[in-house]
Amino acid sequence: MKTGVFLFFLALSGRPDIFADESVVSVNPVRQGAFPKGEATGPWGTIEYYPVILEPPADHLWAALYDDRTLWNFGSVPEEGVYDILETSGFSKESIRLLKTEGQWKTGVAGTEVDVSDAVIESMTPENREALAKWFRLNNELFFSRLIINLEGGDLSAFEEGSVSPKTLDLIRRMSFKRRNVLSLMDRAYIMRQLGDDQEEKERFLKAAFATRSLIVRLVINESTDLESVIDYWSSEGRNPGIEHILKGVKLTAGADKLDLVQILPPLPRRYLFGFTNLRDMIPLSPPDCFWASVQFFRPNASPRILDPLTLNYHLEHDFEKIESADLQFGDIVCMFNTDDNTFLHSYVHIASDIVFTKNGSSFTRPYVLAKKSDMLSVYLDESAYRSETYRRKKRG
């Protein structure tokens, strides 16, 4: 999302200590049987894929993520108004009483903030969390984005099979809650408190919490492949030149019946695939996000211009044409907008079948991936409704 939310963290904690000269990838094995290999045939030929889960490397987990203080921010709403919000949200009288007696209230430049005790957290139901999260999303989006962690895939598989201890998994299970199709956590700080001094477990928890589902995708090229059609699809009418001879070479080579998609992606997605944001790509208050990753898909080099505070149309109206057809092509950008207020929600690039190239948010913890569309949407399909618009880069020349 183009919210710059991550910078909020950055401002609190200073920059994360990441390698200066290389995006870093950390890939964790998918839990056996969590999701299977796949295959899809269409105008792109036949692709096969298998999953990997990408976890952020330890040095991409900035200090504020380890903060164990639960702080809720209600913006300009005064303390008394907050109690009304909680009551409307279905909080029990006991929960509200605890917040009144144990909460540490503060009003300042940042608005109305309350330091929340364990007792309040433990008294909350999943429905309370869902309602409170919705209030934050609608009324204090920046804080919402800072508070909420959406779990990829809509399940807890990233934490299973020894990824964290059974005790931590149980804690996560109790703290997680649904926002329509999205499984979320809002009590990271509480979980940190429960983990005490166990730094390694805290790191394992954070890595799994920010795990992103990805795919290794290969194009099948064998004697039955209609190579000209395949070349046409992946060349995208000249937007992705220079791939036909690799494809022909594979077809001519005995024993080489599959080509990893990394070999025929345009330079930019190839450069960032499986990588995380590098400090050299960002400017103050603006790290690369989903739009940055998608609008430059066919560009040979990344442009810092995309980080400037310009409207989407600034980038789209000259170089792209809007596509009304549902028949998507390789490299088409799909932009998602909230139907209620028309705000931009997310954008991604169509690859083939239901596989997309995406960066889910501007966080340093979210990598650039090839992913199943359903996995990508698992962190976006919350209670808000959205609509999509498709854009196609105009041909070169």
Partner: protein, 402 residues
Amino acid sequence: MPSRLLQLLLGALFFADVTGQDAIVMSSPSRPGNGVVAAPPGPWGSLEYYEVALEGPRGIHSMLKLPSQQVEWFLPAASRAELKELLIAAGLTESEITDLLSGSKLIQDLEAFRIFPAEATVLNMPTPTRVKLYRLLSRYEENRFHQRPVYINSSNLSDWFEGSEIPRSVIQDIAVLCYPTPGGKGYHFSDAPFTLKQAGSVLEEQILFQGLFRKRGLIVRLRVSADKLTQETADYWTAGYKNKAVMPLLESIVQNNDGGTIDIAHLLPSTPRTYLNRFPDPSDGLSGRFPDWFWTCYNFFRFVPREVYADSPARDSLILQEFETGLPPSEFGDMLLFNSGGKVVHGCIHIAEDIVFTKNGADLNSPWVFMKIQDVVGIHDLYGDVSISTFRKRKTSETVTP
């Protein structure tokens, strides 16, 4: 064609079977067929690779300066006597010189001779004579096709030109005109102008040049299985933390596709991964220069490439500051410098086994590719004297400040 048969006989060790309709095959040396080849296992794991031909983007050849069909040899000599001395110094005999110049047309100015040999002279020249003459010609940049000959690493020319649309008759000429590299690995071909005679239209010229000047690269993959995956393998590709950690990725392959392969493009740092099997884009030259071998080597581990080139004044000091001499065995990411005639003529990056990452020219028609190092030597070793020195990237904290 008797004269060609005679040439074949004279060629002794290096001749081509061009008489029938079978594959046009040079007798020696050879290379593995066009299948997937398994490399010997090592600390990098088990690699396998195959070769693909890469043609430059369409349109690039319309930008190239096509030569005249007339073969031209440029030699710096102020008089016929000087010209003869030059040729004798290059090892040519009186008889060979006479054969070469008879029937040739010469244009002489104050400093040089431009020799336009007869077609038969070019075609029928014995291979040993061709080797000596073309090695001499390669010393002068005016002879651009001799200074940067086409390198052919296969004795099977039909295989080599497969898919190129070059007519068989042209391949037959090429088989006659090829000559062995000084190191004996593969062949050089410098008579591209000669082959233009067989092009009947601009389109045929383009097809011919596109086929002649296409490049070769390797697609390399790492086979990983549960029983063979070791920490040593992961450490090899991590290169002392200069590269990303790869063990989790390899474990993931094992878990989801045990015994399967992963394209090693995934194991490269960002910058070489961006450029692998790619020809330069015009946007790569916006600073005024296109990347060359030093740009490629120096920026291998760098996320943001720095604009430094083989002739940059800072080149040697950067090597001293940021690299140290590497002792064998070579490691992933080592910079290999090719020394010839007292100067560095090329550099490339060691990947694994005898596979390197290289860009063999600064021009638009030179892609970034994986190659076998002996083939890279074959391209750049014009005089048989190339020696290789290894430089290892220091960790950032160990960079030497002058």
